[in-house]
């Protein structure tokens, strides 16, 4: 495909134009341009619903090599608005390859560009912050690209959970088998409700691995009453896209559930728990998107290498003022909050991704703690 690829381009809100060669779907789309520094796992990243309305720049230069495989989807489809790479290559052979990235992007109507000067783009985003952009595989004409960016948009204030959440409740029972340290413990009858703000499959698999018999996945807007009616043993708040502060409805329902049973939130779930406990969130300059962030677990004192994907964070100053909330995890790169527990209620929130996919699996034991309902160890 590469030889006959058409020129395409990315235009950022600040007016900078970044040229490349088209692949994926022939279309034009807008979103927040972010960068991801993981060395592997483009499939997991592109299919993670948290990337809704984001155009992902991969810092790793060779993308596409291993193709796409059914077991590595983190949801049923690609959610990102676009994909920017330095060098795309078709997978010629991988023993479990089923599709190429190009095919999958075409199926999902997602545009992509290769040949982008990704390093300079990333330095630009680092210096100037993430911003809205338009990616087009149809045109590289500045004027026509500009039209798509006339309205100033920002991720701030954007509620996106409805777009990615399941519309119907369903039950998940599959665990993971591919990983070494997935402890399958004795089967129990505990059930967990998962509020789906854009949940990744790997989270569901780990919930099962940690001991839950089943995970009942409910739509994002499910009321506290309906959740309680399910009589589950625990509640999980999933990851997801957008600004947590825009999810006021969800926050108020979650508020009602605190103290009812152990609650565990990851990523957006972490931020929503923070908001429900009266904390506030803020937008990071260029977010954390990578698989190498050192997070100190303040209880063990040890550093865990974590998988990260978030553009917002819970305010550290407010936690410091809150006498019942204890920060449990700290990002050592920029000292932002990566996790907390409530001292009275069984509530645990983790900002990073202990389920990895992609990334290191140093922190999966938090799922185990959740299953045991004990966050205070």
């Amino acid at each position: 495909m590469a030889s006959k690829a058409k020129p395409g381009a990315l235009l950022l809100q600040d007016g900078s134009l970044w040229r490349g060669l088209s692949f994926g779907a022939k279309t034009t789309s807008v979103g927040e341009v972010v960068f991801h520094t993981a060395l592997s796992g483009y499939q997991e990243i592109l299919t993670d619903p948290s990337y809704r309305k984001q155009i992902i720049t991969f810092s790793s230069v060779q993308i596409g090599n291993q193709g796409f495989h059914s077991e590595d989807f983190e949801s049923k489809r690609v959610w990102a608005s676009g994909c920017l790479v330095r060098d795309y290559s078709e997978p010629l052979y991988h023993w479990r390859k089923e599709n190429s990235l190009d095919e999958i992007l075409k199926q999902n109507k997602t545009p992509a560009l290769s040949g982008i000067d990704t390093r300079r783009l990333i330095l630009h985003l680092r210096e100037n912050g993430n911003q809205w952009g338009v990616i087009s595989t149809e045109t590289d004409d500045l004027k026509s690209l500009k039209k798509h960016l006339q309205k100033t948009v920002s991720m701030q204030g954007l509620s996106l959970t409805q777009e990615v959440s399941t519309s119907k409740m369903y039950t998940w029972t599959e665990g993971s088998s591919a990983l070494l340290n997935s402890p399958i413990t004795t089967p129990a009858n505990k059930r967990v409700v998962v509020m789906d703000f854009g949940v990744k499959h790997q989270i569901l698999r780990y919930l099962i691995d940690s001991g839950f018999k089943e995970a009942i996945v409910v739509p994002a807007k499910t009321s506290a009453k309906d959740i309680l009616a399910l009589k589950a043993d625990a509640l999980f708040l999933s990851n997801g896209p957008g600004d947590p502060a825009a999810e006021t409805e969800i926050v108020s329902e979650v508020k009602k559930l605190i103290g009812e049973f152990p609650i565990f939130g990851i990523c957006l779930g972490h931020q929503i728990l923070g908001l429900a406990l009266g904390l506030s969130t803020f937008k990071l300059k260029f977010g954390h998107h990578g698989a190498n962030h050192p997070v100190q677990n303040l209880r063990t004192g040890k550093v865990e290498i974590t998988s990260q994907n978030h553009g917002f964070a819970v305010s550290a100053e407010e936690i410091a003022k809150h006498k019942d909330i204890e920060v449990t995890h700290l990002n050592l790169n920029d000292q932002t909050v990566e996790g907390f527990v409530h001292k009275k209620y069984p509530v645990c929130a983790i900002q990073f991704h202990p389920e990895s996919a992609p990334g290191p699996i140093d922190s999966t034991f938090t799922f185990k703690q959740f299953y045991e309902g004990n966050f205070h160890i």
Partner: protein, 1122 residues
């Protein structure tokens, strides 16, 4: 966890001479460790026998011992220094083995020395294959079917259970020596016997073969808090079956999915914990079935390795430095990332480029062995390159190799009939060029190549795309080429040099047009974090973008001073190794001392020079004009370039000096360098100065060779006009001899005419002289006398400083001649001259090298003076007068100790190769022995170069007729020392006639039991064997080879044998002392420039080292003193 305050003195062991499988990567790791720990306030004791290393620079450690790396020596040092701890994980396998030996001898316990990094039990656990295997089973981690055996019959039984093909891995060996793949039962017993012998513990692992599986390595670090990070994952392009040191490797891993990778990462954590590596770096190797979910752990090294040096350079994460800091108690989160200076080191580097490492081989020097790759490492060096795509990095690496051919274009020496699948299936070392050619000629498909090599198709596809575009480029007309084509070609990694071939256009025109098209490489910083954080460390490379942004990476400019650009020496090879890196690194320091900025350019990832801490800026780029010009342009953007230093990077840098703008070259003018390098011009120099050189003729046609040789008179020396390390040099003693050599010439099509034919000076003494000059004055630094006679390549000879047998008058003559030559060549910087002194005591000039030489680091250490600094300062305008430099002593009587350089050879790695020495250099590394007299120094040099010398027993002698007379004295001496003499019947009869008692033994052709049987059976403790005629060489080949393989010390020149025998008494009496360089009595020290610049005031003799009389010394080797 802060650093430990209970430790004060730490002993670090280096890895000894450069060998295949253990090269200067350990100089890099050791140097980093010494620097890091000294900065923390610890007192560092360093031991290494290799004088060419940076780590043995006396300015680095507090106490530096250049002593043999044996448990005995170490014990002596420990007894003197009483260190609190020993750090053995940075000196390769040698240091690790020594730590175990010291533990077994109870030395560590006696002196209460704590082992840092890895405990003795964990070293044993990782190194002992059986224990390691059991641990993996316990941890429920996948391994191969295998069995450890200690004898042949168990081995045969085990092979039946495992099935063929199977792999042999002897325990405790370097670079897989003695190992290999066995395909069938009939090969088994021979190979197994060899493997059992290679292992110091007679232990061999037999293992199921996973040939063709993907090979992946992880570099892991752990600290005392049990925090772990994987610094880098490395993928081998050449799959299992080819030693990773011989494989092309790359980072990051390209053909694994995230889950496949994370699985390995998880297991790495378990393994490191399980083995109990407390702190530091380790390396784990995996094999993955490319067609299923199956994977296994191959092995782990509980120490830093060649791969960790590569990983450090590839990512910017300094593994060895961190390993040293972790060993003394720090935890990863307490240390800052060296590159960002803000974020912590407890993270995993990510990179936004591709790194490719390509090995360099030296099979051409060992033509008796087939140039095939296997599980035993054969490469002698490597290059690394960084690019923004695989194709760019891959082609850039090939451009860095300096092989004479261009990129992936076929070397002209190749025969068309070899370009076939069969050759690559046999794993010939040059198969990547063959694969390129097969794809170019479309005689094989990716599938066929994959089937023959098991190389992942992704890489082959990349190669095919390169070749497809190469063909497209070749079809284009240069006149029609525009920016678009240039940009794509550059993106694919084509160098201007290759484009010049493809477009049949001079290089200058290609470069000019490319520049006109504004196709220029972008500057990139190596930052460990793919741009996420600002990097403070000036480590750069260039790469081409398809659509370069107008917002480039910038070099932060702060009080920019004038820069001096240092050209490194590129990949290690036989003839050009770590000694040049020493000179480059010392130059960087000297340049910075004068207030200039040192800018380093090199492409060898094993080196200290490519440590970003050494220079103000490091550019990791090929040493080629095109790449250098881009660097000059960048440097010029924000400051003045004072000049380019081409004298310390060996032949590589010197050759480049002739291609660059002569005004920019520092030191000796370009035209004078040409006068020294060009043979015809140099002949005129000699004529002008009325100096002698062996009579010589240039031969342009092979037909003329015979006549020219006859006219000059045999023996003659034949060599190509351009040589490195004496490649393709021959000493020809007769016409019959010449005919045989002519045959080899006809098959070796890379022999380039003209050839030079010199009259060869038989039995001459060879002398190496190093000088420095400041444009006006020339100072002779050392007159080194070779132990072996002229005709043995100077790089393969042992040499002594001061000289052994030269009269003061001769030394004076050498000094004056050297100064005369230096002045004539307007010497500014360094000069090395090789002289020969004929039997008639006439002085001949053999050659000059207008640059820092192989021997310069040895001279610096033997004289205790930083001559590199003096030379560099002179080149930068500071005269010797201003430096208050005092010439060093040259007469033996003025020396207070002797230093002897000896070398090590890679013969064991090349089956079927004879160990005889000649004008072609074959050694890979060197050692130094220091002693109060020549005997002690020479004996220590022999021990350091792994000669297991006997204190009693039987010595076998068999020498050529011309040596027989000189043998008498050696035999008498041996007899007096209580040795039993054994000789072949001819030699025995000769000796008996002279009244020497000697036992006779059969030559091999005389039938069994013969001499080789006796060697194999351990009845011979030392071999002295010299030969001349063709038939004698082939007759006695098996004697030398079996001595080599059984580890019996052997001497193939009578001069070396004589020196050894004369030195034996001291060894037998056990009178070998250890001395730190810092406490050696160097002549005339002054402190004007910090280190040992001399006044002539005689120091006292604090340690009583001057007890031998001058007379015994100068006559030591039996040569006339005047």
């Amino acid at each position: 966890m802060p650093k430990r305050e209970d430790l004060r003195k730490i002993l670090i062991i280096g890895s000894g001479p450069i060998q295949i499988g253990q090269a200067c990567e350990f100089d890099y790791s050791g140097t980093q460790a010494v620097r890091a720990l000294k900065a923390e306030g610890y007192e560092i004791i360093l031991v290494n026998s290799n004088p060419a290393t940076i780590m043995t620079d006396p300015e680095l450690a507090d106490r530096t011992y250049i002593e043999p790396l044996t448990a005995e020596t170490l014990e002596k040092i420990i007894a003197i220094e009483k260190p609190d701890a020993l750090l053995p994980t940075l000196g390769g396998q040698v240091a690790l083995n020594l730590a175990i030996e010291l533990h077994e001898h109870g030395v560590l316990e006696t002196y209460r020395v704590e082992v840092l990094g890895a405990s003795i039990p964990s070293i044993e656990l990782a190194e002992d294959r059986e224990k390691f295997k059991n641990l993996m089973v316990e941890l429920d981690l996948p391994i191969l079917k295998s069995k450890v055996i200690n004898n042949l019959s168990d081995g045969v039984k085990a092979a039946d259970e495992i099935g063929f093909p199977l792999v042999l891995r002897p325990s405790f060996t370097l670079g897989g020596a003695g190992g290999g793949i066995v395909y069938n039962k009939s090969e088994l017993s021979d190979r197994l016997t060899e493997a059992l012998r290679a292992s110091p513990t007679s232990e061999v692992l037999l293992e199921e073969s996973v040939i063709g599986w993907k090979e992946i390595e992880l570099e892991v670090m752990r600290d005392r808090k049990d925090q772990m990070v994987v610094v880098c994952g490395i993928e081998n392009l050449d799959p299992m079956g080819i030693h990773t040191g011989d494989s092309i490797t790359l980072a990051p891993i390209q053909t694994l999915t995230d889950k496949e990778y994370q699985r390995l990462r998880e297991s790495a954590k378990k393994i490191v914990r399980g083995v109990g590596v407390e702190t530091g770096g380790c390396n784990i190797q995996y094999a993955l079935d490319p067609h299923s979910d199956r994977w296994i752990i191959v092995e782990m090294n509980p120490r830093v390795s060649r791969s960790s040096a590569l990983a450090s350079k590839a990512t910017g994460f300094p593994i060895a430095k961190l390993a040293a800091l972790l060993a003394v108690g720090y935890s990863l989160d307490e240390i800052k990332n060296d590159i960002t200076k803000e974020t912590p080191a407890s993270f995993e580097p990510v990179i936004d480029y591709i790194v490719v490492k390509v090995p360099r081989f030296a099979f051409e020097k060992f033509s008796a062995t087939e140039p095939l790759l296997g599980t035993q490492m054969k490469s002698v060096g490597e290059v690394m390159s960084l690019g923004r795509s695989f194709k760019e990095a891959f082609q850039k690496a090939f451009a860095s190799l300096e092989l004479g051919n261009k990129g992936l274009l076929l070397p002209k020496s190749w025969k068309p009939e070899e370009v076939k699948l069969e050759t690559i299936r046999r794993q010939r070392f040059d198969r990547w060029w063959l694969m390129a050619e097969l794809l170019r000629a479309e005689t094989a498909t990716i599938e066929e190549i994959h089937e023959a090599t098991q190389i992942d198709r992704w890489f082959l596809k990349q190669l095919e795309e390169i070749i497809d575009y190469e063909k497209e480029l070749a079809r284009m007309k240069f006149a029609k080429v525009g920016a678009k084509e240039f940009r794509k070609a550059k993106n694919f990694g084509f160098t201007d040099e290759v484009l010049a071939v493809l477009w049949k256009t001079p290089l200058e025109k290609i470069t000019a047009k490319r520049e006109k098209c504004e196709v220029e490489a972008s500057l990139n910083q190596v930052d460990t974090c793919a741009g996420e954080f600002e990097a403070k460390t000036p480590y750069y490379y260039f790469a081409y973008e398809n659509y370069p942004s107008a917002l480039p990476d910038k070099i932060p400019v702060k009080n920019k001073k004038e820069a001096v650009i240092i050209l490194g020496s590129g990949p290690n090879r036989i003839g050009q190794g770590v000694e040049f890196d020493y000179c480059c690194v010392k130059s960087a320091q000297a340049i910075r001392d004068l207030g200039f900025e040192a800018v380093m350019v090199n492409c060898n990832p094993e080196t200290v020079s490519t440590d970003y801490d050494i220079s103000n800026r490091l550019y990791f780029e090929p040493l080629q004009k095109e790449f250098l010009e881009r660097i000059f342009k960048e440097e010029n953007k924000f400051g003045k370039i004072r000049g380019v230093l081409c004298q310390t990077g060996g032949g590589t840098a010197l050759r480049l000096s002739q291609q660059l703008d002569s005004k920019s070259i520092l030191g000796t003018p370009s035209a004078q360098i040409d006068r020294a390098e060009d043979r015809a011009k140099f002949d005129k120099v000699l004529t002008k100065l009325k100096l002698k050189r062996p009579e010589s003729k240039t031969v342009n046609r092979v037909e003329d060779l015979k006549k020219v040789c006859a006219n000059l008179g045999y023996p003659v020396l034949i060599r190509p006009s351009y040589v490195l390390g004496g490649r393709s040099m021959h000493i020809v003693r007769s016409e019959e001899n010449l005919n045989r050599i002519l045959q080899t010439f006809s098959t070796a099509s890379d022999i380039e005419f003209p050839l030079l034919v010199d009259r060869f000076l038989d039995e001459a003494i060879e002398v190496d002289v190093d000088c420095i000059g400041d444009s006006k004055a020339v100072v002779v630094l050392a007159v080194m006398e070779h132990i072996e006679e002229a005709g043995i390549h100077s790089g393969d000879s042992s040499c002594s400083l001061p000289s052994l047998s030269l009269s003061n008058a001769m030394i004076d003559k050498i000094r004056k001649t050297s100064i005369q030559l230096g002045r004539e060549l307007q010497l500014s910087g360094f000069l090395n001259i090789q002289f020969a002194i004929s039997k008639k005591n006439e002085l001949y000039v053999l050659e000059v090298n207008p640059r820092a030489s192989r021997t310069l680091p040895f001279v610096c250490k033997a004289t205790g003076t930083d001559w590199v600094r003096a030379g560099i300062h002179a080149m930068l305008g500071k005269t010797f007068k201003e430096q208050e430099l005092v010439p060093p002593p040259l007469y033996p009587a003025d020396f207070q100790h002797y230093s002897v350089k000896a070398v090590v050879f890679p013969f064991l790695k090349f089956p079927g190769v004879d160990v005889l020495l000649g004008p072609e250099m074959k050694s890979t590394g060197e050692v130094m022995g220091v002693g109060e007299d020549f005997s002690e120094a020479f004996m220590k040099a022999l021990i350091a170069s792994s000669h297991r010398l006997p204190k009693s027993g039987s010595v076998f002698v068999s020498v050529r007729d011309s040596d027989k007379e000189k043998l008498i004295e050696i035999c008498q001496k041996l007899k007096a020392l209580g040795f039993r003499l054994i000789a072949t019947h001819g030699t025995a009869a000769y000796l008996r006639k002279l009244g020497i008692v000697v036992a006779g033994i059969n030559k091999v052709k005389e039938g069994q039991p013969h001499i080789v049987d006796a060697i194999i059976n351990g009845q011979i403790d030392m071999v002295i064997n010299t030969t001349d005629s063709e038939s004698a060489i082939s007759d006695s080949y098996s004697i030398r080879r079996s001595a080599l393989q059984t580890g019996v010390p052997y001497f193939t020149t009578l001069t070396a044998a004589k020196a050894a025998v004369h030195s034996l008494p001291r060894y037998i009496r056990g009178e070998l002392e250890v001395r730190a360089l810092q406490s050696l009595p160097f002549k005339g020290k002054t402190s004007t420039l910090g280190t040992n610049y001399g006044t002539r005031t005689r120091t006292n003799d604090p340690r009583g080292l001057r007890k031998t009389s001058k007379g015994t010394r100068t006559n030591q080797n039996g040569r006339a003193a005047s």
